[in-house]
Structures are given as C-alpha cells and as structure tokens.
Subunit: 439 residues, 2 copies
C-alpha cells in the first residue's frame, strides 16, 4: 500500500472529533485556518457558536436523550443558507440576493444536534473559479472543489463533519485530494431547497466526515431514515475501458494496488467493459450543466456580469448560447444513461463500482480545482458515491505525497447498503484514515 | 365517517394475503379476473407460477431464514420487463420492441421472495388510453389509471402486492378509486431501468398493497434499506386554496370528514395557503410530460403510428410540436418548484400534506381513467405520496358507494417517516381497509 496520508502542517485530526468543547473548535479555526482558509471569515464566530452550544444544552437537557449528532461541529459550504449567517456562494454579488429560509439539509443536521461551526469556502457558485482554500497536506496544492473548504476543514481536523454539494465531482474529488471521506447520496434523496443551484438536473447534497460512523449518522439525519442495514459482502466491479483511461498513470497504479488489496482481503472484483460512450456522457453532462447554470443565473448575470469571475462568466455565456434543441437532446441522453446504468450493474452482477476518486492526486497551484472527470458518469446516473481515503502518492519523484481516494459507487437508492459495505472495504484498504480506524 | 368500502362482487380480500398457496392465486385469477380484467392474459400461467414456487422453495430451503416477502404473490404492471414474460405496455406494438433485461424493481422484489403472479393491465404506455380493467367496487366504473390492473388486483384481493408507476397520478389515483393502499416513493429512490418510460423527469416506481406492513416490507426491498424508523406524531397540513378547489364537492366533503377524524384523534392539522400557482404547475407538468413522451416514442411512433390509440397519438403529436424553448422553460419551472416545495413545508412547520387522493370517486364508464390533478404538484416536486383508503362516497344520490383515498405527502427523501406515520393516520381514519386493521 502507498504511504498513509498525513495532515503535515496541522495536528492530529482526532482532536476535533465530537465531544470536543466548542470554544476549542472556534480557537482552532481562528488560528489554524489563517493558513488553510477552509472557512469563510466570520466576525463574532465565538459568540455565535457559544450561543448555539447554549441552545443545544437547553434543547436537550437530558443526557440520556441526546440526539445522534449532539454537539458535532459542522462546516457548511457557503451555498447553503444558514439562519443567522449570510450566503455569499463564493461570489462578489450582494448577499441579499441569496437571502431566504435555511436549507432543509442544515436544519435536519441541526435537529440532530449538530452545531454550525461556520461557512466553508466554495468555488464561485460551486463552479470552477477557486477560492483561497489550500490543501491540508501541502499548502501549495489545490484542495479540489467546488466544496473546497468543507473537504479541507474535515481533512485538517477543524470539524469532523461538513456539508457540500456535487454537480459534477464537487464532493468526491476534494474528499480524495484532501484525504477525508466524502459521500454523495443518490440524486434526490436530500432536498436542495435553500441551496444556491448550479444545475438542478445534477445538484446533490453531500457530506464530508472524519470517520464512517459519522457518515452513517449524518446521512440518517439528512434522509430522516435508518442507514444501518445488514448487508452481505458486495461484488465489486472495475469499469474497464475509456472511462478508467482518463485517470493519470499514477492514479491507475495506486488503484491497481487498491484492487489487489481488496482481492487479497477476499473480495470478488470483476473487470466489466463499461462506459465505451464516456465521451458522449461527458459532453452531455457539460451541455446540461452549462445551460442550467446559465438559467440559474438569469436573475443575476445581466445586472452583475462584471462581478463574475471569468471562468464562471464564460460558462454562463456558453450555456446561454447553447440552443434549446442541443440541451433537450443532451438531457434525453442523461435520462437514458440514468435508466441504463442500473441495468449494466445488474447484468454484470456487481453491487459496487470501484474506481479512482479523481484523475490523480491534487495538482500544485491554487488556480484550478482539478478535473471532475472520474465523477461524471456516477453523478449523471444519480448513483450514491463514496470516496474513501486510500493512501498517498507523489505527483513526481521526490515531490510531496498527497492523498488519493477509492471511489465506491452503489446502485440507485441503495445508499444504505453502500454505507454498510464501506467499513469492510475501508478495512481491506488498510489505510488508517480510510474510516475503519479513525474515531 | 362514510361507509366502509366493500369489494362487492368479489369475496374477502384477506383470502389473498400472503401465506395462501400459489395455485389458489392462479385459480382466482383464472376465475375472478374474467370479469375484473386486472391481469394480462397469460397462457400457461399455472405452470409458470408453479415453477416459480418451486424455485422459491429451492432458493430458501430453511424455514428459519426466509426472506421478508417469501411467497408473496406479486402483480407487475405491464410496462416493467419481467424475465419469462413479454412486455406489451398496453399497446398493439410488437413485444419484441420492448424486449430486454428484467427491471431492477422486479428483481429486487423477487430477491426478497415475491412470486410474479402475472402482468397487470396498464393504459397504453402508461398514458391515458384505458385498458379493459374494471373497478372492483362497481364494474361499470373506471379503476383509474395508468396502473389500472395493479390497483384493481390488489383491491379485489387477487394479489396482496403489485408494482405500478406514476408520471402524473398513476399510482395514487387508481389506489383511491379501487380502495387499496398506493405508495409512490420519492423521485429517484427506485431505479427505472427495465421500465418503458413515459416522461423520465417524473417517472417513479410505486406500489399497491393490501396492508401497511407489506408496503413497508416491499419498500425496504425496493430501496435496499430499512424503513422501520421511529417517528413522533407528525404535524399535518392542508394545502388550502386553488389546488384543493380542483376536487369535486363530494370529495372535499369527504376530506373534511377525514380532517375532523384526524383532529379528533389528536393530530394537529394546519391550514396552509399553498399552490396559488397551481395552474402554472399543471401547465408545466403537461408540457414536460408530453415533450418527453414524444421523445420516448421517437423510435416507434413513425413506424407504428397507426397502431397507437388516438389519445396517445395526440399526446405524442402535441409533444412533438412543442418547441424546445417552451420545454426548457417548463422544465426550469419544474426544477424551481421541486426546490421550493420542501421550504414551504418547513416554513409552515408541517411534516405531511394531507389532501384528497383524487378529484372524487371513480367515474362511471371505462372510457376515461379520471383526473390525476390531485397528484400533479407532489409528483412534480418528487415527494413521497401515500394513498390510504378513507371510506366511500356515492357519486350521486342512490348511486353506488365508491372508495375515496386520503393522500399523505411527505418531505423529499423522508419516505421512511411517512411510512412510520401511516398506521397512526390510518387508525385515526377508522377505516378498516385503511391499513391499520387489514392483515
């Protein structure tokens, strides 16, 4: 196995696991985050958090009847509305444009006892223009995006839990780059109200967490259900072919090592010829994303065009100039793909796809958040996807070791099974940060 | 409370509950269904079912380790592919056009032990042109549609469980008309592969069942999860205003009685001003439905136009002649509506919408399947919806008493909570067929 990832310039993540007193979290954000920049600046954070902690104590006075996330510090990507905090969505537009009631996902986690530690940095409107966040494993490398701050905050141990969203690869990729667990549930399972949309056909609320039991507890709160199902060992499938070829050699080498570890642990791993049409899948994803991004920004773009960053403005203009027939054809392709993917899994007799979470480890430089290519088909099909830390690799000889993730993709709606299988897979990967041993 | 519904010309539904030997089910279909026409004719049904029962016995030999739906007879709407049976989708097109692998929903229920009793009648392509099925409470009245046969078969006691789909109101309405339980999960929770599409933006796999524990068990199998969550008593909301005004006076009177019964049982029921834009919601639903229906039929319509029934052909032509910009504007409205509905529920402090399942009891005549209007906003928002039998009303003085349903609509993804709350609501309705007492 590759070396284990290490939060080199930030201390042991366990310190931040729940149970820790909230003022310490605030202190840590105040100090450690000056370099990391995972959180959006918040004057008065200490007082607000203290008041939230008091509210928790008032709301659940009986120690015997505490909710499942009691006192868990929560980072919230700044495209979710949170009562008492402004929403900026990583943009220069006035916060008033985004005012409104709190997002249901936030309320559900608060109702389960979580305490909002703060807003985390997002790329502008959850698209590709990066924020100031750094990778906790090496400050000159990108944390990935668009949920940059949530991934970095969890990986660095500032908070054990954070909310993100994924429209292309915005949960799975930063989780892998930063070396924490990321989970994107099945499309539609968690409501998106109170979240500034990117492309509604794909937008999905997801999570970052320091360990797997917390993913399970938070998901149960988000879906108002139970997630602890019994499940036999899954049959794993590798989507061999042009999709996998999109990953860099070093990512494929690391992935081969992970596959070998899973086979050594007794998992059946099947090579499945799949996604021969990945070029079309990628193209139709981009068309639908850009057209819907343009529509999302219809109320704002003409008034504030000069405040948009060039990447976002270019995306919106591209979406605007796409004719409706191109969009409807692409959307038709998305619907067909979403319908056929479960059949492909059934035909191949596999329960979970495994593949690299990203095309490689995080790139040097903060001007890009890296490629979401390894997430496109799974987001498009609406499937639940989990990124487990899977060791580190160096981008070049002598360069810093940076985390990589193993992406595990379940059947639609079978989020519970995927989470039930995750500890076994994580254990087989034998990475102490992959979830089986942390916390 | 109104009179309890009664399957007048068919005997006690309890006879068909699971545990009953399968040949008896086959006999019942062979005899009772000559009038009801819930099932698609199947030469050799007895032999095929006997073989399936043998297979069940072989697959689960240990009585201690039987799966949750062991031996439950299942009706399958004839737009789902089932291995070993042709798919006709209620149409005159060649069955070979619809051949392919079995639908995941069917496989999941079979893997949980269900035995396919047969294909049930659907309107043509799950649109509005009716099949031959009659209402089990009165043979001259429609069973509703499009899942006509599944609803009638369960309500008449021929099978305790059946699969359907809903694109507008195709589960909730026939369940109400026929007097059984119908459940449409959150959009996207159950995969649609192997199901002939109608409009993928809305298509959702759903269930009909003879009693609530069976809904819970079957849903758990369909979503590969656990559905038995603890849940406090919900706050109920009535969507007062133009949406509710679409129901006929007699349906609103019956609904008022149900609301009174719920209040008498101690439920908090809030009147919430909602859906002022119902006309727009209805319009955009129709636009998206017809355009996607036309696209779905692109491979077939030009070759087989003369085999389509007039209603379906008119819908497809209307969809084809709708320009792409109209579609994309409507779809944009759908996405916005889907995002704002959970917020409306949160703002109003309600957990469950309650409303009539249909605009009234089933109409006389088999030339129409009735109006799906009461389902449009919930299907469009992707919310989980459950129809509980709620007594009977007569359409005219001296006319036959026909069932009505209470529609209960949960928050997105909160299917588990909705099902946990259902027995309490059913008990308050005090209808012996509403699920609390049957089975």
């Amino acid at each position: 196995m590759p070396d284990r990832p290490r939060a080199a310039h930030l201390s042991d993540r366990r310190h931040a696991l729940y149970g820790q007193a909230m003022p310490t979290i605030v202190d840590r954000i105040a100090h450690a985050d000056t370099e990391l920049r995972a959180f959006v600046d918040e004057p008065g954070r200490a007082e607000r958090v203290a008041a939230e902690v008091d509210e928790i104590a008032r709301r659940w006075p009986d120690p015997e009847r505490r909710p499942p996330l009691h006192g868990v510090p929560l980072g919230v990507k700044d495209i979710f509305r949170v009562d008492g905090l402004p929403t900026r969505a990583g943009s220069e537009l006035p916060a008033e444009e985004f005012a409104g009631p709190e997002a249901a996902a936030v309320t559900r986690l608060r109702d389960a006892g979580a305490v909002v530690a703060g807003k985390t940095v997002t790329t502008e409107f959850a698209y590709f223009a990066p924020g100031p966040t750094r990778n906790p494993h090496h400050p000159e490398h990108t944390p990935g995006g668009s949920s940059s701050g949530s991934a970095a905050a969890v990986a660095a141990g500032l908070v054990p839990l954070a909310l993100g969203t994924q429209t292309v690869g915005s949960v799975i990729r930063p989780a892998a780059y930063c070396g924490c667990i990321g989970f994107k549930p099945t499309y539609g399972r968690v409501p998106c109200d109170g979240v500034i949309p990117n492309a509604p056909t794909f937008d999905t609320v997801g999570l970052f967490a320091a360990h797997l039991p917390l993913v399970t507890a938070a998901t149960a709160a988000l879906v108002h259900g139970r997630v602890d199902v019994p499940a036999d060992r899954p049959v794993l499938g590798v989507p061999a072919g042009p999709y996998l070829d999109q990953a860099e050699t070093r990512a494929r080498d690391g992935f081969a090592t992970q596959v070998a570890a899973l086979r050594a642990a007794g998992y059946e791993v099947r090579d499945v010829a799949a996604l021969d049409d990945i070029a079309q899948v990628n193209r139709q994803h981009m068309v639908v994303n850009l057209v819907e991004l343009a529509r999302t920004h219809e109320p704002w773009f003409d008034r504030y065009a000069e405040r948009y960053r060039p990447q976002t403005a270019a995306g919106i203009r591209e979406g605007r100039s796409t004719d409706a027939a191109t969009y409807t054809t692409a959307l038709d392709g998305v619907h067909t793909f979403r319908r056929t993917m479960p059949q492909l899994m059934a035909d191949a007799g596999i329960d979970v796809w495994i593949c690299p979470s990203a095309t490689g480890p995080a790139r040097r430089g903060l001007d890009t958040t890296g490629s979401p290519a390894m997430s496109v088909p799974w987001t498009q099909a609406g499937l639940p996807a989990l990124s487990l830390p899977a060791g580190t690799v160096a981008r070049e000889p002598g360069g810093p070791a940076l985390p990589v993730g193993l992406q595990c993709v379940g059947r639609p709606g079978a989020d519970e099974r995927l989470l039930a299988w995750a500890p076994g897979i994580a254990e087989a990967l034998n990475d102490p940060t992959s979830g089986a041993f942390v916390g």
